[in-house]
């Protein structure tokens, strides 16, 4: 290893440690401390407080039902969609691609809110309509409940499961199935005895990753769980630091430690299954296409189901928000509602100083944060891929550390950390915590970009008489552009809608969009919420589309592909 390379590696190890290892250490130490200001006096008081809290039992029960239920729902739905896409002759296959990138566009908290607007027990639009149509005395559905949370979280996590299951299903060797057919098994028996067992590792990996996501989820539990007093671990932490009279960060850290342990354990199980899945699924190099099942009579009904899922996931949330933003209070759509429509909510929102400040803060964090995050990712990915040493392996593991931690937990760690620094309660607290926590998402596309630059591409440039600088300028950097674009877009969209870290670290003056949405939701300001939410969605879409068009000038088609892949498998690089 050259001296220059060694220096770069060690500098990055120090920097990344400060970003990712430090908050975890602070979380551990915080959980054994009394309060933010009496740091370091070892005490077990907070753990005792957590494990004797009368609420804990119901919180754990809720959490178990919530994470397992939503993960199971997401996985089964994903399995169904993956099968339809890869193995049947269903029309309009591009819908599957749209479905799989949907969650990048619509923030989870807004998706949750749109369901609350439809199905909340007091004035949900669908509930009110059903009550009037069938003259019911009470609302038939209550979204502020565990089943409601399971349903919405499951829909949101479905794409993650889909992106793991669909490639496995699409790439396996059809002869495995065909030989089963030859030995006189029908298609259903073949599916049950051959196809699904072979896919089991991929399905389990998807299921476990959905559990991890649901455990870390804060948007849905806060918007749909807290109004009905249904608490899960993430909202339990939030309650400890906000709802109680005195914010108890020690207790929050102690709860966080428990989540961390579960989360890290699950990640190990997940890795076991992805490894098993890599071993199991035989990707045929000869370009075998799996046999396509003719749906015949089932084609139309199945296609209608697909359209319905697409409608629920993509169109419905935007439609509900648009409608709500135009009416003065929540009412059933009809003549009266259309007569009352106005831009009043929009006018209020664009003049509301806090909403404007949160928009400004989110834009700053998104643009500057994504740029800094991408720059750091380029350096880290370079060291991981091109400098192979023990130190670069260590850098890789600490860079991916934060992936397994729920945002709200790592946020508590940052709280203990930043309160000792001058950046506490400034926008920089959010800035550094965002970059640190989402670093794996920036590094992933960059490592695959570096891997793609085969050594001979650089060598042939040297043989052609180009200097090292020319080779960098004309060969290496242009080939990195697609990776840089995907890193930037991924980080920017995530920063723009960030909720769970901000829920802990945001202070008056450093509000961000998702927090402002949460405030509106807590206050029942549905109209303003919808207007602000739509502005948020529109900016996200413009940003993704704009950067993609820019990036497509270098490598058409590939950037979007990568965005899809990155969300699905950010963990593989850690193994």
């Amino acid at each position: 290893m050259l001296k220059r390379e060694r220096n770069l590696t060690y500098a990055l190890i120090v920097l990344v440690s400060l970003l990712t290892v430090a908050p975890v250490l602070m979380l551990v130490m915080g959980s054994f401390s009394n309060s933010l200001h009496s740091f370091g006096n070892f005490t077990l008081k907070k753990y005792i407080a957590v494990y004797t809290d009368p609420m804990l039992f119901s919180v754990l029960g809720n959490t178990a039902i919530f994470v397992v239920g939503s993960a199971a729902f997401a996985t089964i739905l994903a399995l169904f969609l993956a099968y339809l896409n890869t193995r049947t002759d269903i029309p309009f296959k591009f819908l599957f691609k749209v479905l799989s990138v949907m969650p990048m566009m619509i923030p989870h908290v807004l998706f949750g809110v749109s369901w609350a607007l439809l199905l909340n027990p007091s004035n949900g639009i669908l509930n009110m309509w059903l009550m009037r149509a069938f003259s019911l005395s009470s609302a038939p559905f209550n979204i502020y409940s565990l089943p409601g949370m399971v349903l919405v979280e499951g829909l949101l996590d479905m794409p993650i499961a889909y992106l793991i299951i669909a490639p496995a299903m699409g790439s396996f060797d059809a002869s495995l199935e065909e030989s089963s057919r030859v030995f006189k098994s029908g298609p259903v028996k073949t599916l049950m005895r051959i196809t699904l067992p072979i896919l089991r590792p991929a399905i389990m990996a998807a299921f476990i990753l959905c559990i991890v996501r649901a455990l870390a989820s804060f948007g849905v539990p806060s918007v749909l769980g807290m109004p009905g007093r249904v608490y899960v671990l993430s909202t339990f932490i939030y309650r400890v630091i906000t709802v109680s009279l005195i914010a108890d960060y020690g207790k929050a850290a102690a709860i966080g430690m428990s989540i961390l342990v579960i989360s890290v354990g699950l990640i190990y199980v997940y890795r076991y299954f992805t490894r098993a899945s890599d071993k199991f699924v035989t990707v045929s190099s000869r370009g075998f296409k799996p046999s396509v099942v003719q749906l015949r009579k089932g084609k139309i009904p199945l296609f209608i189901i697909l359209l319905l899922i697409s409608f629920i996931l993509i169109v419905l949330p935007v439609l509900v928000l648009l409608y709500t933003s135009l009416v003065p209070y929540v009412m059933v759509p009809g003549k009266q509602a259309f007569a009352a429509m106005s831009l009043q909510n929009w006018r209020v929102v664009i003049k509301d100083p806090i909403s404007l400040r949160s928009l400004k803060n989110s834009l700053f964090l998104c643009l500057v944060g994504a740029t800094v995050g991408t720059f750091l990712s380029v350096l880290v990915a370079y060291v991981i891929v091109k400098i192979k040493s023990k130190a670069s392996g260590f850098l890789e593991s600490i860079s991916f550390l934060s992936f397994s931690f729920p945002g709200i937990v790592i946020g508590i760690g940052f709280m203990w950390y930043f309160v000792r620094t001058p950046i506490y309660a400034t926008i920089w607290a959010l800035f550094f915590s965002y970059v640190a926590t989402y670093l794996p998402y920036g590094i992933r596309p960059m490592t695959s970009a570096f891997v793609q630059i085969h050594g001979s591409l650089e060598e042939s440039s040297l043989v052609c008489g180009a200097s090292f600088a020319t080779t960098m300028r004309r060969i290496v950097i242009p080939l990195l552009v697609p990776g840089i674009v995907s890193s930037w877009v991924l980080l920017a969209t995530m920063f723009f809608r960030e909720l769970s870290l901000s829920a802990v670290l945001s202070r008056p003056g450093t509000e961000v969009l998702a927090i402002q949405i949460l405030r509106f939701s807590e206050d029942g300001q549905w109209g303003r919420l919808s207007a602000l939410g739509l502005i948020m969605i529109a900016i996200s879409i413009i940003m993704v589309a704009g950067v993609n068009i820019l990036g497509a000038r270098f490598k058409p088609g590939e950037v979007r592909e990568k965005l899809v892949k990155v969300e699905s498998q950010p963990l593989k690089a850690t193994s």
């Binding site: 085969h454 060598e459 440039s461 040297l462 052609c464 008489g465 180009a466 200097s467 004309r474």
Partner: protein
């Protein structure tokens, strides 16, 4: 331009073991001829090529290209790759995916800071030479394997280097295209008349393209010579075996005659092409299937082997045939229209001049 290599050594360390990729190579490559380094994978041929081009630095020795020493351990000379003014075609072609055909080919000229008009003219001329006229604006990602190969060749030729290097350039093509491209390449190189160093593990490529072949094994050049010399008159068992199909039978010299060398083998006494060896050399008789004839032919210079046809496999242009001679299976060829059958007793004829004695 000729290339002189003296005492070249290169070691790798892998899992605590030392691998001598080049174990003291001395080599003179003639100017304006096609020289091929042939050998199995891991024999050091690619390492040698990469040392010549400067992508690897040797541990010991000296490399001289034309009048310039480009690397010398003793004299402390290292000319970096980009200053050696060579052309190279990579195994993967290394066509830059973000550039079109024109920019790929023009790259070496752009690095020489030539005027734009001259660059355009020379690129057009070179593309015409490799039969890719009008492909200038084609994105390089939309080229077939054979076209990529030709773009790589054009890029290597465009700056008119005195030496061009090939690192297994045909190994990524399918069998049929490989044959066509090999013939094309022979025409191109014949027309150019420049020094070419060609690395391959494919004996047919080496035989068909080269003026001189250097057969490598375990970091050494085992044998050097024209294709015919290597094929007909190899000195070593490794070379004889690597360059073609061969029946290899251990042999001991019984008598050095005036015209022939007489040996004793498991298939009986054989008279061979005359050759002398050091007394303690272990010898092997090499019989190529294509030189074995069926049916008894009388003559002083013919060896006769009696046996039974144990297996015949029809492979189109011939029968691959195995004949059991005194318990040893001899590979031979039979005409596809032959009337011989499995189990027939046959006599095999091999001319003495085609019985090659090689050392182990």
């Amino acid at each position: 331009m000729e290339i002189k290599i003296r005492g070249l050594k290169k070691r790798y360390y892998s899992e605590g073991k030392v691998i001598n990729a080049l174990d003291g190579v001395d080599l003179d490559i003639e100017a304006n001829k096609i020289f091929t380094l042939l050998g199995p994978s891991g024999c050091g041929k690619t390492t040698l090529l990469r040392c010549i081009v400067g992508l690897e630095t040797p541990d010991e020795g000296e490399i001289q290209i034309g009048d310039t020493i480009v690397w010398s351990k003793e004299k402390g000379i290292y000319v970096p790759t980009e200053k050696r003014q060579l052309g190279m075609v990579f195994q993967t072609y290394a066509i830059w995916p973000h550039m079109n055909v024109f920019n790929n080919v023009a790259y070496p000229l752009q690095n020489m800071k030539l005027p734009k008009a001259e660059i355009a003219a020379r690129v057009a001329k070179t593309l015409k030479f490799v039969q890719l006229e009008g492909f200038e604006s084609r994105p390089s990602t939309r080229l077939s394997g054979g076209q990529q190969q030709r773009v790589a060749l054009a890029r290597a030729l465009v700056a008119e280097p005195k030496v061009i290097l090939f690192d297994e350039p045909l190994s990524n093509l399918d069998a049929k295209l490989r044959e066509e491209t090999r013939k094309e390449l022979k025409t191109f190189l014949g027309d150019l008349g420049i020094t070419a160093v060609y690395v391959t593990h494919d004996r047919v490529e080496a035989l068909a393209l080269s003026d001189t072949i250097g057969v490598m094994n375990a970091g050494h050049i085992v044998e050097l010579g024209s294709p015919k010399k290597i094929y007909f008159d190899a000195d070593h068992q490794f070379v004889a075996d690597f360059i073609g199909r061969a029946n290899l039978i251990p042999a001991t010299i019984t008598e050095q005659g005036e015209a022939y060398t007489f040996v004793d083998t498991a298939v009986g006494p054989i008279r061979c092409q005359k050759r002398s060896f050091a007394p303690d050399d272990e010898l092997v008789l090499c019989l190529r299937p294509e030189f074995i004839e069926f049916g008894k032919v009388e003559g002083d210079d013919v060896n006769h082997l009696d046996g039974t046809i144990s297996q015949m496999s029809f492979v189109g242009e011939m029968y691959e045939t195995e004949v059991d001679v005194a318990g040893i299976r001899i590979m031979a060829k039979l005409d596809p229209m032959t009337r011989y059958n499995e189990g027939d007793r046959v006599t095999l004829n091999v001319k003495a001049e085609q019985c090659l004695l090689v050392s182990k």
